[in-house]
């Protein structure tokens, strides 16, 4: 099939970016979206031009590296699918596809479609862990965990840290990402000891990174490739209020 691509090109964070238009003639429906961009990049290199930069690695929907907005939707039109798992059979001959980076104040552009998501790492660093040193653990079966509880924790833990939730949100809020970690650890007995401190610290860091507030638009859930539910946000809000009210714990 033939496609017209409008791709955001930006040399670095300090330069202004703009769209460039490219034509591709021979796109196979079996290609993945990123393979289609590979083909375009090969053509650019042949013309001695700079190829389009985009983050990617596993190409299996699990590392969370790939990140672009395709026709207005983070990770493109298919639900529950990362960009790397999107295949060209979902597009038609003659389509025009607009490709942009994830846009958010807290995710500055590095180059073209690559953004800096290290704010997510810093949110985890302030409390997204269980404080247990290597070798301090007791036998793994000494605390039974109800199957459904483990499964709920797992659902929250499948977040791949891609940032699509932020890109989808009109306020560029990181509530879905942050709440997924707060839930994952807060649901499990192993994570409950530090739960109060954790939720306060992570929410505070999230605000400091410049992510916006949550106004219950729920676009994050719709665009999340891993189906992380907004129930996690509700759970985090409850945990946060609970941790501030009637508690000695406070993170200032």
């Amino acid at each position: 099939m033939k496609l017209t691509l409008k791709v955001w090109r930006q040399e670095n964070a300090n330069k202004k970016g703009s769209f460039s238009t490219y034509q591709l003639d021979d796109v196979s429906e079996h290609m993945s979206f990123l393979e289609m961009l590979d083909v375009l990049n090969e053509q650019l290199i042949e013309k001695k031009e700079m190829p389009i930069s985009f983050d990617h690695d596993c190409r299996e929907g699990i590392c969370g590296a790939c990140s672009m907005v395709i026709n207005g939707q983070p990770h493109g039109p298919m639900g529950g699918t990362t960009t790397c798992q999107l295949h060209m059979r979902h597009f038609k001959n003659g389509d025009t596809i607009v490709i942009e980076p994830f846009r958010a104040k807290a995710f500055p552009v590095v180059r073209d479609l690559v953004v800096d998501r290290s704010a997510f790492d810093r949110i985890i660093q302030v409390g997204g862990f269980v404080s247990v040193n290597t070798g301090q653990a007791q036998d793994a079966n000494s605390i039974p965990v109800e199957k459904d509880v483990a499964s709920q924790a797992f659902d929250a833990a499948t977040c791949i840290g891609c940032g699509a939730c932020v890109a989808a949100c009109p306020n560029a809020s990181a509530m879905l990402f942050t709440s997924a970690k707060v839930s994952h650890l807060g649901i499990l007995p192993q994570g409950q000891v530090e739960a109060k401190r954790r939720v306060q610290a992570m929410v505070k860091q999230m605000d400091e990174e410049g992510f916006g507030n949550c106004s219950n638009v729920t676009a994050c859930e719709a665009e999340c490739p891993k189906g992380i539910s907004v129930e996690n946000i509700a759970r985090m809000n409850r945990a946060y209020i609970g941790s501030v009210l009637g508690s000695e714990t406070s993170v200032s």
Binding site: M31, E60, A150
Partner: protein, 666 residues
């Protein structure tokens, strides 16, 4: 050079315990003065950096990824082994040790493997304490599944995302140390050289990938946990950015590369669909529990399927060859990976392949659907169910077991595997070879350690499923924190090293020169095109089966390709910017050197064992012929400059506890 494994004396079961209680320690006040560089944040690197930080060392940790959480380990699907014997099915440390030695076709060190089996149990405890949500049963206890090549259930799993959950656990432990200041994290930094001072590894040169700046970092020692080299083959199940450069640069500085020809080809991957293909996707080994592998018996049927005139469904039962069940009645579809992969190649080489490229066999769930459907109907009290009911119920059971894999298959191929048999083909998956290390995980360069897939230590000539995650975490959490003391205890009075000293400046210049060299070629061919060509040579001649003539001509081709690269590659842009093409160019240049050593090693090893199949060495039935008398050794290669041949060093393998036997799956 004499290679010493440094396995401690004593009986197998006591070696590690004794070692731990006698290894020289570094006191807490001294740890604070010592700096360690860890390169890599996969399971091995993240667990090592976190644990060394907890112990009080000053750690600097590097990854080329934008976040430690994106390391390739994240993609592991199936599970992690541990000798917990929670199922009470007769598992033990010794059994895990034995299975690993045997599965590796008797080409690994007994002492190392036994230690791995011992610490496997601590890994599960640690991961659960960190909040890794492993699968559990209704009693709330941990669940297990079985993997190929073993007779017990010892694999712990978190749905199909075990690597992700374990890596997130290690990443969180690492994040905690970063916040505490004991680990300084350098994201988007690629190590491009090792710096040696007086023969010992004392630092690295790294490129800041965002700015292109070349930076010098000094430490008392360097730990490489930089993963495997499967991407030499261009197409593999590895993440796109996996590369051999860190390990290869260490080799260029004197470290030895051990058993590089031992690569694992996984039998169940989604076949190549076109020349734009960038990577291959694994379909978990667990599918072979229920899927039956077959090709048509008749060449004309295979041809008709390739041309789209027939599908698998049109082939009558008596015209199908379930070749694994036929050739290996005892293990059937569950033979080990290397055996299954070769058999698929044989079938396709005979012209029986079923995809347009001719390189695919069927993995068929129809029989499983029928079997499960009937049994489900029975359970639900439906007597004399009709065919549609059986199929409906059976598909439901299959969906419960493999739903996410079937979905992934459909996303990629656009075909519904519930209705049409899946098409699969082997693909490069894992590399057993790697930097030579002794029992302490130290290379022959003092102060340079290698962990995880980057070393060669534990899997011999073939790795069993669910054992890589175990090894990475064993190395990082439980081995290196002890063994690093053997080196550092002599360094407690050594002051910090100066990154402006001569050795560092020299290494920095070498890196800059190398970058200028590839940028200045200004030829006409893309880096990618060289990588593809290299991959094709390696796959055709040093892949699933190898022979001396092929290997010799392949070596010549790789040498020519390397020459052409330095004459005609085109790398756009400059060093002083974010430039992924430049990153790739340096990696592909190293792959081309590594490829040659793999070929040499394959030529040298005149036997067939594990993942290494030499056509000259097979039984009359076409099975691998191992030659223990001559080849029960580790082949460790020393780089001496391309004008001279690399030098082979041998470490003889001593088997004091297990008897060497021929693997048979018939």
């Amino acid at each position: 050079m004499k290679l010493e494994g440094k396995v401690p004396p004593g009986s197998l079961g006591e070696k590690w315990t004794k070692f731990k209680s006698t290894v020289p320690l570094v006191a807490p006040n001294n740890k604070r003065r010592i700096e360690i560089i860890v390169v890599g944040t996969g399971l091995a690197g993240a667990s090592a950096a976190a644990t060394l930080g907890e112990l009080g060392y000053n750690v600097k940790c590097f990854t080329f990824h934008d976040s430690p959480r994106r390391a390739h380990s994240i993609a592991a699907q199936g599970g992690i082994n541990a000798a917990k014997n929670y199922q009470n099915d007769g598992d033990s440390v010794y059994r895990l040790f034995y299975d690993t030695i045997k599965g590796g076709d008797y080409r690994s060190r007994e002492g190392n493997v036994h230690r791995l089996a011992e610490v496997s149990r601590n890994i599960i405890d640690q991961a659960v304490a960190q909040g890794v949500p492993f699968a559990r049963d209704y009693g709330g206890l941990l669940d297990n599944r079985s993997f190929g090549g073993v007779q017990v259930s010892r694999t712990f799993y978190a749905r199909g995302q075990t690597g992700q959950q374990l890596l997130i656990g290690a990443y969180q432990a690492l994040s905690r140390q970063i916040a505490l200041g004991s680990v300084e994290m350098y994201n988007r930094h690629e190590m491009l050289d090792i710096v040696k001072v007086d023969g010992k590894a004392r630092g690295i040169i790294a490129r800041n990938l965002l700015t292109g700046e070349i930076e010098r970092y000094a430490a008392h020692c360097v730990v490489l946990a930089t993963g495997g080299y499967g991407n030499v083959f261009y197409l593999s199940t590895n993440a796109m950015n996996c590369n051999v450069s860190a390990a290869w640069r260490a080799v260029r500085r004197g470290a030895l590369m051990a058993n590089p020809c031992f690569t694992q080809i996984h039998p169940t991957c989604i076949p190549v669909s076109g020349d734009y293909q960038s990577k291959l996707t694994l379909m978990s080994e667990s599918l072979r529990n229920d899927g039956r592998v077959w090709v048509p018996k008749k060449l004309e049927d295979a041809k008709a399927i390739r041309e789209g005139k027939k599908t698998g469904l049109d082939i009558k039962e008596e015209d199908r060859d379930y070749y694994l069940e036929r050739r290996y009645p005892a293990f059937g579809n569950l033979v080990p990976r290397d055996v299954a992969s070769r058999a698929a190649k044989v079938a396709c080489d005979e012209g029986l392949g079923v995809s347009p490229t001719g390189l695919a066999v069927f993995l068929d769930f129809a029989a499983a659907v029928q079997r499960y459907g009937k049994s489900a109907a029975n359970v639900q009290g439906i007597h004399n169910p009709d065919a549609a009911t059986i199929t409906r119920l059976g598909e439901k059971v299959v969906e419960e077991k493999y739903g996410n894999l079937f979905e992934m298959y459909e996303k990629i191929t656009g075909e519904n595997p519930y209705k049409m048999p899946m098409k699969i083909y082997p693909a490069v998956h894992y590399t057993m070879g790697g930097l030579w290390v002794d029992y302490n995980l130290e290379t022959n360069v003092p102060g340079l350690f290698a962990l995880g897939e980057a070393n060669f230590s534990d899997h011999g000539a073939n790795r069993l499923g669910a054992s890589a995650l175990m090894q990475g975490l064993a190395d990082g959490y439980f081995v290196i924190p002890y063994t690093i003391g053997t080196f550092l205890s002599n360094d407690i009075r050594t002051p910090k090293f100066d990154p402006d000293s001569e050795a560092f400046m020299e290494a920095e210049k070498a890196v800059k020169d190398r970058i200028d060299q590839v940028l200045n070629v200004k030829g006409n061919q893309s880096v990618e095109s060289f990588h593809r060509r290299l991959g094709k040579i390696m796959w055709d001649y040093c892949g699933m089966s190898r022979n001396a003539d092929g290997l010799r001509s392949a070596r010549q081709m790789v040498v020519e390709l390397r020459k052409e690269f330095y004459q005609d590659v085109f790398v756009p842009g400059s060093n002083d910017e974010y430039n992924p093409e430049l990153e790739k160019a340096l990696r592909v240049a190293d792959f081309m050197e590594m490829g040659e050593v793999m070929i040499l090693d394959a030529l040298n090893r005149e036997e067939s064992c594990g993942g290494h199949f030499r056509e000259e060495y097979q039984t009359e039935e076409g099975e691998a012929l191992r030659r223990d008398d001559e080849f029960a050794y580790v082949a460790a290669w020393e780089y001496t400059g391309w004008d001279d041949e690399p030098v082979l060093h041998k470490e003889e393998l001593m088997f004091e506890n297990v008897e060497l036997k021929t693997r048979s799956y018939k």
